[in-house]
Amino acid sequence: MTELDSKSVIAWLRLLGEVYGQKKDYLTDLDAAIGDADHGANMARGFAAVATKLDALEGKDIGTIFKTAAMTLLSTVGGASGPLYGSFFLQAATVANGKNALTAADVGAALDAGIKAVVSRGKAQVGDKTMLDALLPALAAYQEAVVNGLVPALQKAVEAAKAGSASTQPLIAKKGRASYLGERSAGHLDPGAESSAFLLDALLTTASK
């Protein structure tokens, strides 16, 4: 696939509903170690709610699909993940408005807008042990490889996201509930970085079909 059309975007969001359903306990266990044990349940609830909206979105432009996903996440996820993932899709929607397919460059612009929204909402940076430890390296890797096309760029992005998420293990958290632990937060993966890596991994799976 060289472009991501609206059918694929719907397939991606549907797949995310399944992925977060399967990873619910895994993410919750990660969160129990350094947070408040709700990340898995929150993500599963939010993306299951998104999945129920997808049939009605067939044939709509990608901006509308992203915006619906954003509003659904904002109203169902709660915690910090709701505003963060909601803002990601809301800003991605501004890039995708009126489009029925996204080129590799468009996907890069949507990721850029979405991830910048996470930065501004969460006020975190790389090394703070957050979603951004997966997302920012993924964005950089994607942009570097975008000339090679959608799937190769997404492959690089997913590799970077997974490596970035793994890199959170030794870090001391500086944002969110894990930051209350100080040094005791080291030695655990950040659940938000993991769920962010899953998000991009599912996009790669969808685009590779």
């Binding site: 919750t28 349940a41 209350y180």
Partner: protein, 333 residues
């Protein structure tokens, strides 16, 4: 897990139905989105107070909706911030034309969701002020953490600001009073046991027999240190010292002393804590002129306690004493 629930998914909604069934004279429940409002609201020409947070801390916040305290409360899932659509709808429903004060406990999720709600309400032309409560001295307050958590001072701020709003103060003045209460309130807690989040089904953390978590948060977040259980008097001193030295409180200050149960500790033990806490306050020259003892900001069934101390001024005393009629706090009426 042994809990008196039907299903984790329906827990919050069923509890809201129960609140309304029990206290229909005081509160009205709204569903999808979920929130509680005063049964006699919106109150015209009064600043509306709106708070909210994850469920599992009852009676906070829903139990504080009523005359003299909150106009609306938004419960999230257990230990999970409510969402902006709830706060937006609740804010609109509670607004009596004099604006809405959002009282937000300092947790990353709560702060972000309330920020979005504030934007939505302002977009409708409603005046909004937000005050973030961050009074937990167990957390190092620095740019390297999410900052201090909001705990016991929240209850006191909601009572005092509720009194001020009934007295006709402007939105700005109620918000400034709320900020002052936050600036002069300090808290710290300890846990004897963990708690179990219903949809998780197992304890949030492991606490071996004979050990306690000193400085625990109201969601079971770890605190300053894990240590061996000591006597009530020794543990009370360990909570009081960091509180007293933090502002610092000065000899001669008038204070409100609030000993809170975290859900699984009997009132019998809370009075033992209060007795020692008051003694320590007096030994520092502080005058305990107001108090509150009971389980008002809880962490599900966690056994443990938190102590909150607020340095009082004339207005705070006046509005603390003002009449209040809510499911969980009632006096003067």
């Amino acid at each position: 897990m042994k809990k008196l629930i039907n299903s984790p998914e329906n827990l919050v909604v069923e509890a809201l139905h129960g609140m309304e069934a029990a206290h229909g004279d005081l509160v009205k429940a709204h569903f999808e989105p979920n929130y509680l409002v005063r049964a006699d609201g919106p109150v015209k020409n009064k600043v509306a107070l709106l708070s909210g947070g994850g469920s599992g801390h009852e009676p906070m916040h829903g139990g504080f909706v009523g005359k003299g305290m909150l106009d609306a409360a938004c419960p999230g899932a257990v230990f999970t911030s409510p969402t902006p659509d709830q706060m937006y709808e609740a804010g609109k429903a509670a607004n009596g034309g004099k604006g809405v004060l959002l009282i937000v406990k300092n947790y990353t999720g709560d702060v972000m969701n309330f920020e979005l709600a504030s934007d939505l309400l302002k977009a409708d032309g409603i005046d909004v002020e937000s005050v973030i409560i961050d009074d937990d001295v167990a957390v190092k307050d620095s740019t390297w953490t999410a900052g201090r958590r909001g705990v016991g001072t929240t209850v006191i701020a909601e009572k005092i600001c509720g009194g001020a709003a009934e007295d006709g103060l402007s939105l700005k003045d109620v918000a400034n009073l709320c900020r002052k209460v936050n600036a002069q309130g300090r808290s710290m807690g300890l846990a004897l046991t963990s708690c179990t989040v219903p949809h998780v089904g197992k304890p949030t953390f492991e606490l071996p027999e004979g050990e306690i978590e000193m400085g625990v948060g109201i969601h079971g977040e770890p605190g300053r240190t894990r240590m061996k259980l000591k006597s009530a008097d020794e543990l009370t001193a360990m909570l009081m010292e960091p509180i007293i030295s933090d502002i610092p409180y000065k000899s001669g200050d008038e204070v409100l002393l609030f000993v809170n149960g975290l859900g699984g500790t009997p009132l019998l033990e809370l009075y033992v804590i209060y007795r020692k806490a008051a003694e320590i306050a007096q030994a520092h020259g502080l005058k305990v002129v107001r108090n509150l003892v009971g389980s008002y900001i809880t962490s599900l069934e966690m056994a443990g306690t938190s102590i909150t101390m607020l340095k009082l001024d004339h207005d705070m005393k006046k509005y603390w004493d003002a009449p209040v009629k809510t499911p969980a706090l009632r006096w003067g009426l």
